[in-house]
């Protein structure tokens, strides 16, 4: 009996190690989904609009990193900050020139415009990079054995940077005056100007931050899966969008939760089942979540105004 228990426990620990190892991969993928999902959710929060160009901004983050690294021998952190800044400014610019003039117009115009902006970005990139590109390794990643698990510097960095960015954003949104204004716009944009708050500036800032985080995610994704192509924004972008919906679109913490859930489910399905089942099972599960929580896990029903 003792022997049987020992055998069971060692079988269990083998299984547990495998699960733990896969969890690290899930954290890596989940944190990237979460970073992208934040951009969808923040923009939806302030404008109740889906920024369909967001996936392509994510893709541009990877290409921006590729270009910067090719021409300027800068340290990793500097490149990351440059990518965040560049993609963030581009996101804010798109809002200014493409979305703002249509505000107050029919909703479908905004959707078409966003899709159009995405296609323009994707095809401009395609013209310049007709073939998939190899992402440069910005540093030599070493692997560590910790309690029998393998984890690389790159994985630690991706998870660490993502979590740091998310904590920073959470602080920004819940503790600073700009964050308060952003949440106020999400609740009732019409009343915000009466507080003396320049709503348009806050909306620009929202796009800047959302796109910047998407760009950072693109760079990290490119480092983790180092073959990048202009089409990568579409599939990954859709998945992150779905993560945002699962978490409750408009909710910042929901986007993070949704990103980690989606990353976790995808990795675990592949770990334990044939990989062709990945999308089928992930999305079925997510549909089930939506049946029970139609506004997503942390989302709230739209304002019922009197």
């Amino acid at each position: 009996m003792i022997l049987a228990a020992a055998a069971a426990s060692s079988a269990f620990s083998g299984w547990a190690f495998y699960l733990a190892q896969q969890s690290i991969n899930a954290l890596q993928l989940g944190s990237i989904y979460a970073l992208i999902a934040l951009g969808y959710s923040m923009v939806y929060g302030v404008l109740t609009m889906i920024n369909f160009a967001h996936g392509d901004l994510f893709m541009l983050g990877a290409f921006a990193c590729l270009l910067i690294a090719a021409f300027l021998p800068l340290p990793f952190v500097v490149i990351l900050l440059l990518v965040i800044l560049l993609i963030g400014l581009l996101g804010a610019l798109i809002e200014r020139v493409a979305y703002r003039p249509l505000r107050g117009g029919p909703r479908v115009s905004a959707i078409i415009t966003a899709l159009g902006c995405g296609l323009v970005i994707e095809n401009l990139t395609l013209v310049n990079f007709p073939y998939a590109q190899r992402m440069p390794a910005l540093f030599t990643s070493t692997s560590y054995q910790v309690a029998g698990l393998t984890i690389s510097t790159l994985q630690l960095l991706i998870i660490g940077i993502s979590v740091a960015l998310m904590l920073g954003l959470d602080f920004f949104i819940y503790k600073t005056r700009y964050g308060i204004a952003m949440r106020a716009i999400a609740f009732d944009a019409r009343t915000v100007p009466l507080m003396g708050v320049p709503a348009d500036r806050i909306i620009s800032l929202t796009f800047l931050i959302g796109a910047g985080l998407g760009g950072a995610a693109g760079m990290l994704y490119g480092l983790a899966y180092p073959v990048i192509a202009p089409s990568m924004g579409v599939l990954v972008g859709w998945k992150a969008f779905i993560a945002a919906v699962i978490g409750g679109i408009g909710s910042v913490r929901g986007a993070v939760l949704g990103g980690f859930i989606l990353g976790g489910v995808e990795i675990m399905v592949v770990a334990f089942l044939p990989s062709t089942y990945r999308d089928l099972i992930s999305y079925s599960l997510l549909l089930v979540i939506l049946i029970f929580k139609p506004y997503g896990l942390l989302g709230r029903a739209p304002n019922q105004k009197v």
Binding site: R177, A186, P193, L194, G196, V306
Partner: protein, 235 residues
């Protein structure tokens, strides 16, 4: 001295002319009330004055023409507006709502003092400071909306039907607060359907009917006027 001058104000929603050439003046330090029934154009008038609605005619704050000045910039000129339905941000805490009201200010020490004074006057808000404002009762929300507007230290305050949806006892309470605010030197433009209580509080008043002023004068005169008594006071 005139705190707020409105000349020939017009507001249209497509083909609907909601405000048709309104003129009135609110004097420094007084409470002026516009009374009118549902759909008379009270809210449209206030929203036009505070820059939320495109309008015709002229609005001056003191001697400053507000033409072309954005709503958020008008707040910095010393005007605050408590909108119809209170406009509380239900997802923010009571404290966050109040802080947002002080957006245009940078004098952190004075803001903290104002906040403390406000909360001492309204202890029910202090007890609920970290609660989402959406969980407050209607009366508490109205108090919060007024307190939030005061956080910008306005010299002129616009109030859109502060009595709406409140029990008589709460209406009395909020009107008491409005009188106290006025006594600190804040000029008040109040629009109301509840003519009885508004006329008793205000110094001067005007009656608004389908976008035009039909009667104007001292509140006491209007209270005694048989036309007002018949149409608005049910006498």
């Amino acid at each position: 001295m005139s705190a707020l001058t409105v000349e020939n104000l017009t507001v249209s929603y497509g083909d609907i002319h909601a405000v048709k050439g309104l003129s009135f003046e609110v004097r420094e330090g007084e409470i002026f009330t516009l009374i009118g029934a549902n759909g008379a154009g009270k809210t449209s008038t206030l929203r036009a004055i505070s820059g939320l609605l495109r309008h015709g005619g002229c609005v001056r704050l003191g001697d400053r023409d507000l033409e072309g000045i954005a709503a958020e910039a008008i707040v910095s000129l010393g005007m605050a507006h408590v909108p119809e339905g209170r406009g509380i941000f239900g997802n923010l805490t009571v404290l966050e709502n109040l802080k947002l009201g002080a957006w245009i200010r940078r004098d952190h020490k004075a803001i903290a003092e104002d906040l403390d004074r406000m909360l001492t006057a309204l202890p029910r808000l202090r007890e609920r400071l970290t609660q989402p404002a959406g969980t407050l009762s209607g009366g508490e929300q109205q108090m919060l909306a007024v307190a939030r507007a005061l956080m910008s230290r306005p010299r002129t305050l616009l109030l859109d039907e502060p009595s709406m949806g409140l029990a008589p006892k709460l209406v009395k309470e909020i009107y008491h607060v409005i009188r106290e605010i006025n006594q600190t030197g804040v000029t008040i433009l109040l629009v109301e359907q509840n003519a009885n209580i508004a006329l008793k509080l205000a110094h001067r008043a005007a009656v608004l009917e389908t976008g035009t002023i039909t009667l104007a004068g001292d509140s006491a005169e209007l209270l005694a006027d048989p036309r007002v008594r018949e149409a608005y006071l049910g006498a």
